[in-house]
């Protein structure tokens, strides 16, 4: 008999032979990236591969995930939608604004978005948040996975416009895209400092953990606005 354990709202650990991180499928019968579907007591779950999703890795690294069933999320760097699909599962009664800059990735994202009404795709540069100001409402969570050298600045600019005062920022920092030659640990320290001090608004870091072994040279960060 498979066992379902709730790790956080909308996020489950299913034990069926081995342990699977998973979310409840909002679009029953459909898979997004070749993940497994598990049917348990009338509900269908999609397994979540932490090696392909930084948010998935953060869950397993025991981050407190601030997503609720009715959360509004601004998702920067949606790519082709692997992680977005799980966020969409979790905030089934909320809304996800999925910003992606590459038309090529957006092409893949569209086929996912078309089937999920809580997703709103935006093809735009996350570094220029004013471009989508006429579309995006204040959100509970800003999630960022953009792999850009100025990603701390991008996070701050978006949080300034869109993050509610009691909201959370979740981001993944990729050391290699900030400085290819520097030591990742040093890059992480610098980036944390930037989040805490360099831009408006400033952040208070709640959790910062390396995403090893799921992602190499990546740091997961959970932060909220500094009062």
């Amino acid at each position: 008999m498979p066992e379902v354990k709730t790790l956080s709202e909308g996020i489950f650990e299913i034990t069926k032979g081995k342990k699977y991180l998973s979310t409840k499928n909002l679009d029953p019968g459909m898979t997004v990236y070749g993940e497994k579907l598990l049917s348990i007591e009338g509900s269908e779950y999609r397994t979540w591969e932490p090696r392909r999703s930084k948010l998935g890795a953060m869950v397993l690294k025991k981050f407190k995930i601030p997503l609720r069933q009715d959360s509004k999320v601004l998702y920067l760097g949606a790519a082709s939608g692997t992680t977005v699909s799980h966020v969409s599962d979790i905030v089934s009664g909320g809304a996800v604004y999925a910003v992606e800059f590459s038309p090529r990735s957006m092409r893949d994202l569209i086929s996912l978005v078309a089937r999920r009404r809580n997703l709103h795709p935006i093809l735009a540069d996350a570094g220029k948040p004013n471009i989508y100001a006429h579309l995006v409402e204040p959100v509970d969570v800003v999630f960022q996975d953009v792999a850009q050298p100025n990603q701390a600045e991008i996070a701050a600019r978006n949080a300034a416009r869109y993050l509610k005062s009691d909201g959370y920022l979740l981001l993944a920092i990729k050391a290699r895209s900030i400085d290819t030659a520097a030591n990742p640990k040093q890059v992480f320290r610098d980036e944390i400092k930037k989040l805490e001090q360099a831009f408006e608004p400033k952040f208070e870091i709640l959790t910062a953990r390396d995403l090893n072994p799921y992602h190499e040279d990546h740091l997961g960060v959970l932060a909220k606005l500094k009062e």
């Binding site: 957006m106 569209i110 978005v113 809580n118 989508y132 006429h134 579309l135 204040p138 290819t180």
Partner: protein, 338 residues
């Protein structure tokens, strides 16, 4: 204060309440087009933290939160689709063609090697390879069919190769035809790239040749990105491994990336190559910028490059003596000093 949202123009009072609204019709395509035009407008941007959803409910544009999400979903989806259909610009098409060309080349090489191995059992003395072998097998099949006027006739009649039976011959001929069609496709793609490059990047084409120019655009990601690169980057595009080795450790910096295939560089003696690569890269950068921003062909650019290269050649006629301690040795010495 007046602001623009995806569902209409709103007038706000001092307290942030909606005083008046000019709402758009609920036609998805119209809303999507408006949303796209608002992106660039830059005026009437809502203040930070403005709650669009509440405003839409307050002014009666939508009746429920569900309707808001549902309509916004359709509008953003339609807008994204419209953007994607316009995203395949001429330089993106060239990039796709360059990538296809690389795949065709690789496949053609693998298959022609296979053919050479396979047909070698039946006519090892042919001395042919690659495209010529493909054409030969597709034309004759068994070496018994080689026409007397063909220069290979003598070798074909006197070959130690095995007898090629009809059943096998059919197979090999078909295989050779496939190989030949790959070579045909290669020519077709090259012609496509050449003519497209002449249209969208005439200066880059003139200076670098259409194939090298197309490769530079392909690696940069777009003509716009290539034009934005400093010329020192253009100089080492394609030498990623060497460049990062240089940045991480004490390895020497790369002198040239894919621009090495430029005839001015690869026909020069080694001691001039770095200097010429720098001059070529500088002019290629200029050419890319001219192509992006003016699109006009400027033939004087090529003359200036030639003059510069001549100057470099005159100033560096002799090979400098190679320093004996190049390579790994200085690394050890420097370390000891630290």
């Amino acid at each position: 204060m007046r602001l623009e949202s995806w569902f209409g123009t709103l007038d706000l009072g001092e307290d942030g309440k909606v005083l008046a609204s000019d709402q758009f019709s609920k036609n998805v395509r119209e809303l999507a087009l408006r949303s796209l035009s608002l992106r660039e407008a830059g005026k009437g941007v809502p203040p930070a933290g403005f709650d669009l959803r509440s405003a839409a409910l307050a002014c009666g544009f939508v009746r429920s939160s569900e309707e808001y999400d549902s309509l916004l979903h359709e509008v953003t989806l339609d807008a994204a689709k419209l953007q994607i259909s316009g995203a395949l610009t001429p330089d993106q098409r060239i990039i796709l063609a360059v990538e296809a060309l690389d795949d065709v080349n690789e496949t053609a090489n693998v298959l022609s090697e296979r053919l050479s191995e396979w047909y070698g059992g039946y006519f090892p003395e042919s001395g042919l390879s690659g495209e010529t072998l493909g054409r030969f097998v597709a034309k004759y099949g068994s070496r018994k069919n080689v026409a007397p006027e063909d220069p290979l006739y003598a070798r074909a009649t006197d070959s130690m190769g095995a007898e090629l039976e009809a059943f096998d011959e059919e197979l090999l001929k078909g295989f050779a035809t496939s190989v030949c069609s790959l070579y045909d496709r290669r020519k077709q793609i090259e012609a496509y790239i050449e003519s497209s490059m002449e249209n969208i990047a005439p200066n880059l084409s003139l200076l670098a040749g259409p194939m090298l120019g197309a490769r530079l655009i392909s690696i940069a990601g777009s003509l716009e990105k290539l034009a934005a690169f400093p010329s020192s980057t253009v100089q080492v595009i394609g030498a990623n491994k060497a460049l990062f080795k240089h940045l991480r450790s004490r390895a020497p910096s790369p002198k040239h990336g894919i621009i090495f295939s430029h005839p001015l560089i690869n026909t020069s003696p080694w001691w001039q190559r770095g200097k010429i690569a720098r001059a070529v890269a500088a002019k290629l950068s200029l050419a890319a910028r001219m192509d992006l921003y003016s699109g006009k062909k400027v033939p004087s650019l090529a003359e200036k490059l030639d003059a510069k290269v001549q100057q470099i050649r005159l100033q560096n006629p002799e090979a400098p003596r190679k320093k004996p301690d190049r390579g790994l040795k200085p690394k050890g010495k420097k370390k000891r000093r630290q």
